[in-house]
């Protein structure tokens, strides 16, 4: 459907990648770990290696969860845009096909300390 309007109605999106001065947005969240109220918004250059994203900002943000230290990064299951996906840790975000505003989810089965039995 289109917007009801008296003449042609066309708009410009506000968050196009050009507005981020060479960086892009990436959303990351940890399934079933809702101490973190919403997925994280990260703003990084697309050349960033995936490993840097994980070991840098992501690891720092996840620290507050009691399961954080027990994450085995070799066994984490990943989703990108809600579809199963396997990252190459040594490749860049761009080479991994992680586009502007893509949502990554990690799953760690068996870890859920903050959920009452």
């Amino acid at each position: 459907m289109t917007v009801a309007a008296i003449k042609e109605y066309l708009a410009v999106p506000r968050d196009r990648v050009e507005n981020f001065h060479g960086k892009q947005l990436v959303y990351v969240s940890w399934d079933r770990h809702l101490l973190f109220a919403a997925p994280f918004l990260l703003c990084l250059p697309p050349e960033t290696a995936f490993r840097e994203l994980v070991n840098g900002p992501l690891a720092m943000l996840l620290q507050a969860d009691p399961d954080a230290a027990a994450i085995d990064w070799t066994k984490v299951e990943w989703l990108k845009s809600n579809q199963p996906w396997t990252p190459d840790f040594d490749a860049s975000l761009a080479a991994n096909g992680i586009g502007h505003k893509d949502q990554l989810r990690l799953r760690t089965s068996g870890l859920n300390s903050l959920l009452a039995a």
Binding site: A5, Y9, P13, R14, L35, A37, P39, F40, Q103, A116
Partner: protein, 506 residues
């Protein structure tokens, strides 16, 4: 002896006719389409504007008389509040967080509603709606002004009240309410009426004002009780107008039904998301609580909303599409919001806090099926982190919903352990949503919502470019004063010190 002649008074119906319909005229040198150019493009068909009638039959002369009386009552109490250190009668200064959110997000909404009603009052050709919208436009600006005036008494003593106008434009959580009203104001006049007049005023406003004012009364806030009740006395008229408008539109032409239903679906969900923030006030922010969000929903949502939609069924109207998802969210949303407000409190111009043991007992009694299972463990862990000297701050910032602009804190309707992830691609750009309801709204009018000014992505663009300190300056947030945990805040220290002075001879 002269007979006493009583002056014949006009009956209500005659007076309404004389002072409303009889004020209209037929244009002679311009066509009606030229005078009222926005009447057709939304697809709504109106055949007879005279069928519109205000059930209260309020005319402008009576309006001014009663509004003047409301103002006199309002200022008598506001003066007394200021003269008698009314701020020290609060149960606790934590209460003020609810007021700060109100001032930053809701009072500007009153002003936006004023602009909207002033506009549609001009655009409708019928004299009945013109007069009713004019009154409502004046009401709404009165609400904005009296609220700002009443709360200015707190600005003299407490943090977080000083920059509400900047924060209305720039801080992140206010964009939720602002975009809601911008969405309505940039719609056509009929949609505006269904959005604000019907969906917001009739279906949802009770959930905002009634518990909020009772909350103020329970917590010793005379100033807010007063502006609340003064505003609320107008709301009953607004609600009646909202119900009248929907009946009028539906009775005018059967083709109007699907358009109106679509708007009801959209605006119920938009309103439910905006007013969801009230749930944190009711369940967490009032030191002395009135009723839980669940209890308020049962009265004002399920019972009243249910009665309303049962009544409107005769026109073919169905309950809003998101109704069932709303019901499923009721026992979760206040907890999900408050956990967010706490972990992002470095970026809010109000204080948040960890619920006390007593608070948590109340929460588990009010939410026996959800609080202990899902939310208590998170709060207990947060409490542990604070006790260890490493209070939980989530500097990850949040993914926001493209439609409602809230952080996507909500879970799947049928799985409270899993965040609701929804996304779509439109013209090569990716967009995220908090719920199916918000995604549907976007997909119906994508060109409208791609323009959303989302505060989190904006933080990484000009002029702030990801610098949190610069961002605080830009939103007029005084770090260490306006934001953060209530425990240890200036507000807490000052309130306790002044209350001590007021109740002892030290």
């Amino acid at each position: 002896m002269d007979m006493k002649v009583t002056k014949k008074k006009l009956g209500l119906k005659d007076k309404y006719k004389l002072m409303t319909r009889d004020l209209g005229w037929e244009p002679s040198y311009h066509s009606k389409d030229e005078l009222y150019p926005y009447m057709n493009y939304e697809g709504i068909k109106i055949h007879d504007w005279d069928k519109w009638e205000d059930p209260f039959r309020l005319t402008m002369d009576a309006y001014w008389k009663y509004q003047a009386e409301k103002e006199r009552k309002f200022y008598a109490i506001i003066d007394a509040h200021a003269q008698n250190n009314g701020h020290l009668n609060l149960t606790d200064a934590r209460y003020l967080s609810a007021l700060k959110i109100f001032l930053q997000a809701i009072s500007p909404g009153e002003y936006a509603a004023h602009r909207g009603f002033a506009r549609v009052g001009r655009e409708f050709p019928g004299v009945g709606p013109q007069v009713a919208c004019q009154m409502q436009a004046i009401d709404e600006i009165r609400h904005a002004q009296t609220q700002i005036h009443a709360m200015s008494n707190y600005n003299r003593y407490y943090n977080g009240f000083h920059a509400f106008a900047d924060q209305r434009d720039r801080i992140w959580y206010t964009s939720v309410a602002r975009s809601f009203f911008d969405d309505a104001m940039s719609a056509g006049p009929f949609e505006f009426m269904i959005a604000i007049g019907f969906s917001f005023e009739y279906v949802l406003t009770n959930l905002l004002f009634v518990p909020f004012m009772s909350g103020a009364a329970y917590n010793g806030d005379m100033a807010t009780v007063t502006f609340g009740f003064s505003a609320q006395s107008d709301e009953a008229r607004h609600m009646t107008l909202g119900l009248e408008v929907i009946k009028f539109i539906l009775e005018q032409d059967p083709d109007n039904l699907p358009i109106v239903q679509n708007w009801i679906d959209k605006w119920f969900w938009r309103g439910f998301r905006v007013l969801g923030l009230v749930s944190t006030m009711m369940d967490y922010m009032l030191p002395k609580r009135v009723m839980s969000w669940r209890e308020a929903w049962d009265i004002y949502g399920v019972e009243n909303g249910g009665a309303l939609f049962k009544d409107l069924a005769r026109y073919g109207i169905k309950p809003p599409k998101g109704w069932d998802d709303a019901e499923k969210a009721i026992d979760h949303m206040s907890h999900q919001f408050m956990l967010g407000l706490y972990q992002w409190s470095f970026g809010t111009a109000f204080h948040a806090w960890i619920p006390s043991d007593d608070d948590m007992r109340w929460l588990s009694a009010k939410y026996p099926d959800t609080f202990d299972q899902y939310y208590r463990p998170r709060w207990e862990h947060i409490k542990k982190l604070a006790a260890a000297g490493t209070p939980f701050k989530n500097y990850g910032l949040a993914k926001l919903c493209q439609t409602c602009q809230l952080p996507t804190v909500f879970t799947e309707p049928d799985d409270p352990t899993l965040t609701c992830h929804r996304e779509t691609v439109y013209k090569g750009e990716k967009y995220h949503f908090c719920s199916d309801g918000c995604q549907h709204i976007f997909e119906n009018e994508p060109e409208k919502y791609i323009q959303a000014w989302l505060p989190m992505p904006q933080l990484f663009q000009d002029p702030v470019n990801g610098d949190l300190g610069e961002w605080m300056k830009w939103v007029s947030l005084l770090d260490g004063k306006d934001n953060g945990d209530y425990a240890g805040s200036e507000d807490q220290k000052n309130f306790e010190a002044w209350r001590g002075l007021a109740t002892t001879n030290q």
